[in-house]
Symmetry: C2
Subunit: 703 residues, 2 copies
């Protein structure tokens, strides 16, 4: 299943079929089949973490992961006891903590590190805002309705699913093996949307289907309707025909206030809140650009028929940055810090040639060679990369894909998506990073009449000479009466050359001018004088451009869970989530041998000391073996565990266990607390911890 | 202006007029006039912070505070360039940070400290959920419409404002001085809603108005309509009459999915998300109660005509806890830790007697004497108190008011509001803390058929003997045919005594029973045998009760800003926000003497070292004097500043300035960083810092 674009790009110059700037499902689907993760021997956070365990790990099993996430309440369908609602999910305790930790790290990595201006703007938005931004007219998908049971389907998905099923049936009938599924640890054969039956197609028909699928994004709604009639595409669920495709706006509508006179929408992105507050933000930043605003918040999209878990939902958390920059200077002062970062890129030229071959390139080289449009965009792409690795995404299943010309709006300079590979959506857009030029500020300024610009004192005033028309107001009024306005605006609309031409004509006598609506006027030389004059400007005014990194937090979170999940050879039933400590819901599990009172004082002491050190710990004193308690917390991704037993009471020692290796060390309570604190806060790694604490080779204490 | 109740209490047994469990505006208004803040000599966070500065501070000036909050973009009307929408506000950088810091402290104080289970549930909610909870039918206010211009007004507010204006006009006409405004630093004479004119009223009319106002909350919508007709109450804005009061549901409505068949609402509280996930939460907690869930999230209320700044808004952040507890055991294991905390209480008996006299009482005594219903409720009231003081609320302007009987739903055991005094709303509910009994879980279980209960293994099985009916199925069917079901259910509905009576009758021959719908049946002794049998139960099932602390974050934030605001004698124009370091948006301001390159390395070094120490700092290298830069950051509440000048470059020294006293100390860069880090993280106070660092008495360096 293919997921849509995080950032809405009003597609002013696009064809109707591209009304939503979404990646072509077909292109992505083919990409999944042919592109292999690069054989990347570079040590990343993920590879470092997983290398110790991977050789004994079972292959990724989506069913087991789903069972774990559901059983341990990472997230679950919202309103489950009421039967649930598609595309709405609640996060339980571990899911909420994981999300909160990802967001805390995002805040540290972006807002604090770059001194961004944080915002918290409203979700409820009056209609005029989204009329100006283009969302009311164009933030829509095409849908069709089953004529008999009223079921609603997304038009492009219907065509895709039915034709793909027919092609697969054709291959079956011809005895051709199913196409191989893309390799890679996260890939599983996807569930088919529509069941195929082995029916052979005419060669020409099969070729036509292939051709339709290859350009699915280029069809308008009416064209999709035509395809359905021509190729007798019906609702596979009921077998009944569907009606004409209709546009369905993806914004949730509501009404503000008691009179119903103020239509409003729930925002489908946080971006407009940044743009509307631009002047206040600029003032807060002492009138200077560049600066960035940042916002984390809930957004809403009323998807037609969401069926991809957390990858396509109707309500989700976004984290968005709007970096406002001088259009004439898109260099970045910290670019040198990231220039050597190597990325996996899939550029637009490669895609336009029908290829999906990625290449490794440093950000510095990519900007220098014009692959990435400018330094600021390149800087953010590199920062996004660093963030995703830091929270635990597998670098081998992460690439940056450039939008093709027909995916971008005409004003956009460049756009790169961070795509993360996963078993549900293949290569899925999880972060968008676009140079949106001056579009957004321009449309809101035009609609409201508020100037959304930067005023910059010029070091050297600019002196220029240009022609101006000076009117004899009295003669003008007398000659043209009610048309006087039309006459002056016609002349003043002329460019420099036009004005000088008119001056020449007037030097010879009356001149004839033509207004935009075709009226002709005869100008007498005494009515207007055209002269070149000198103008001095000491302030430059400009609308800044916007570089927008836009994060879909739920998608990142889901991919992270997939990349972190595995099972031990010896315990296939229980999984392990190898989440890095920085995002793990709980950092340390405190395991007393039993719930007996004699361990209470130590449990309290260790809890309190970890809490004071800023390390989030939980006690598990439930009535089961220590091994089972550890296994249960491996499922929650808890990276470290400490055990308090009789030796602890007698000698004040404690064991420390590492989740991925199940390695156990022993030391004094003081030493173990100091070590685990440094492990959690990122000061040392496990290898260093092992040098501080001797291995624990005692028999596991049993109760 | 009076603000509504944070927590929705479905008022099952209340009169129609009390459909919304809101505090009586009239009661609150009178309370404002008569109650004085207690003369509290106890040292609280706030008094400790402000004692040094208050003697030179100017009286609170709401206009200046508003100007500061607007100018420095703490918050501003949302969609300002589109003309704004009443009740919707955006938070700018300092407001966002302040809110984020309040929430981080909330998370630490409640979730981490008490190991609560955090949740993140959806805002969009299908209608059946709010049908069950009672919101669809009853989460409403009465509104009236101006018959000529269509303006919509809240019915109770209209009656209140018009009658109060007439009474004031009467007093003016009689030459009676206006009633004194409540003293206290946060109180300003409020802007009148309706202008009064000096017209004398008949004595009986004036008395009637007083009586109406005293019981305003007791009128139903139709009764309010009657009052408007009887007393010729028109829209003061237009002078035109208004129509009949109509109920207006305060939930924002929308529709989920493309067909429009699934009506939904934006949640007006986060609570339902906790209740619906109860079974999953219970399982996560290994089946044991008590436990608490906690959630921070956006909520929505479509207020009829919001005009009280952040105190009454249409979209706001709530932080809610649902503590699930055994109804038979509401003790709290940590109660002893808070038993000695002294609170200012306004209990329901005092209020019912028409008084507003508060009293100081320890939580321990309040629970012991039955003023607060149980330990768990008392524990949370004390924890709420500690939280509010910790973030900087003035303890003298904080009290806990108990709901009166008619404010609470019948099932609720007890409810206390933390009210914070401020210039806009007087004593304003900012936190509600209610014992909601088993209501919420019960209604959702009844609607969905999912048991929302706790199953507890009993230590000793309960053995009981009770009478049961045993049927001869064959004889039963033969005798009663289609009525057999009615016969068995009629008998089985009998209580113990009824069954034993029937047993006695049957011993004597046929007995006549009567079904609930009045049918009579004759039972032959051979059809049924009634015997006493022994039953053994080893599992107890119960619906837990819920204690709900519910925080309106925006209200707390606004009150905190008022309590923190003052101006210096020598600079009335610029204000100071004496926010505690724990919530201040920026902790340390780094001020280089100028933006000259020679200070750059030091600025970078100090920034980086503070960041690594977890201290949020900002650099102000703008082109103005150090004094002005400090003053500008006093407005943002930045508690500490460090100055880097030529001495820093030569000797690696740095000065440290404290915001409230403007005291300056000097030390090595290392010492100042260590000291300010401890100041910010709460390890030491300013007095201790002064012992470490000598006073700086050098002349302020000027650039």
């Amino acid at each position: 299943m293919v997921v849509g674009s995080l950032a809405f790009v009003p597609p002013l110059r696009l064809q109707a079929a591209n009304l939503l700037a979404r990646a072509s499902p077909r292109v992505l689907a083919r990409r999944n089949l042919t592109s292999k993760p690069l054989d990347n021997s570079e040590s990343t956070t993920w590879t470092a973490r997983m290398s110790a365990v991977n050789k004994t790990a079972h292959a990724f099993d989506k069913t087991r992961l789903d069972a774990l996430l559901n059983r341990r309440f990472f997230y679950a369908p919202a309103f489950e006891i009421y039967g649930g609602v598609a595309g709405l999910y609640d996060y339980g305790p571990p899911g909420s903590s994981l999300q909160a930790n990802i967001l805390a790290e995002w805040r540290r990595h972006f807002i604090v590190e770059e001194s961004m201006l944080e915002l918290d703007t409203t979700i409820m938005t009056p209609s005029p805002v989204f009329e100006a931004s283009g969302h009311v007219a164009r933030f829509a998908d095409w849908m069709v309705k089953d004529t008999s049971n009223g079921e609603v389907l997304r038009a492009d998905h219907l065509v895709k699913n039915v034709l793909e099923a027919r092609l697969e049936g054709d291959r079956e009938a011809r005895g051709v093996a199913a196409q191989p599924v893309a390799p890679g640890p996260a890939d599983k054969k996807k569930k088919k949307q529509v069941k195929s039956t082995a029916v052979k197609l005419e060669d020409t028909v099969a070729a036509e289907y292939e051709s339709i699928l290859a350009q699915l994004d280029n069809y308008s709604g009416p064209e999709l309707g035509g395809l359905m009639r021509t190729h007798k595409i019906t609702n596979p669920g009921s077998g009944e025909p569907v009606g004409e495709p209709q546009q369905f706006n993806l914004m949730f509508a509501s009404s503000i206030g008691p009179t119903g006179q103020h239509p409003g929408f729930l925002r489908p992105e946080t971006a407009q809140g940044h743009f509307l507050n631009f002047s206040r933000l600029l003032e807060f930043n002492n009138g200077r650009v560049p600066f960035a605003s940042a916002q984390i918040g809930r957004t809403f999209r009323n998807e037609i028929s969401p069926r991809a878990g957390l990858l396509r939902v109707r309500e989700f958390t976004m984290a968005e940055i709007e970096h406002f920059v001088d259009p004439l200077d898109k260099t970045h002062p910290r670019f040198s810090e990231v220039a050597d970062v190597e990325l996996v890129l899939l550029d637009k030229y490669v895609q336009a040639a029908g290829q999906t071959t990625t290449r490794r390139m440093t950000v510095g080289a990519a900007v220098k060679e014009g692959v990435i449009a400018n330094e600021t965009l390149g800087y953010f792409v590199a920062r996004i990369y660093a963030f995703l690795l830091r929270i635990g995404i597998d670098g081998k299943r992460l690439r940056f894909r450039q939008h093709m010309a027909n995916e971008m709006a005409h004003y956009a300079t460049d756009c790169w998506d961070a795509e993360i590979q996963n078993s549900v959506g293949g290569w899925t857009e999880c972060v968008g990073c676009a140079d949106r030029a001056a579009y957004d500020l321009t449309v809101h300024a035009a609609k409201t009449g508020h100037a959304l610009i930067v005023r910059q004192a010029l070091k050297e005033p600019v002196v220029e000479e240009r022609a101006v028309a000076e009117w004899d107001k009295k003669a003008l009024g007398k000659t043209f009466k009610a048309d006087a306005g039309a006459v002056t605006s016609t002349v003043e609309a002329l460019d420099e050359a036009g004005l000088m031409r008119l001056k020449g004509e007037l030097a010879q006598g009356p001149a004839i001018i033509k207004s935009p609506d075709g009226k002709e006027f005869t100008l007498q030389p005494e009515v207007v004088t055209i002269e070149r004059k000198t103008f001095k400007t000491s302030v430059r005014e400009f609308t800044p451009n916007v570089i927008e990194p836009s994060f879909g937090v739920g998608r990142i979170l889901y991919c992270l869970l997939e990349h972190s999940f595995w099972s031990r050879e010896q315990d296939v039933e229980r999984g392990v989530l190898s989440l890095p400590a920085v995002v793990a819901p709980t950092k340390v599990l405190i395991v007393p041998l039993s719930a007996r009172a004699e361990f209470d004082p130590l449990v309290k002491e260790v809890s309190l000391r970890l809490r004071k050190a800023g390390v989030h710990a939980r006690v598990d004193d439930s009535n089961t073996s220590i091994g089972k308690r550890y296994a249960r917390n491996d499922e929650l991704g808890t990276p470290f565990g400490v055990t308090l037993d009789f030796a602890s009471v007698q000698n004040r020692t404690m064991t420390l266990r590492e989740r991925d290796t199940m390695d156990q060390r022993i030391g004094s309570i003081d030493d173990v607390i100091a070590t685990v604190t440094e492990l959690v806060l990122g000061g040392i790694d496990w290898a260093e911890a092992c040098q501080r604490l001797p291995a624990y080779d005692g028999v596991q204490a049993v109760d």
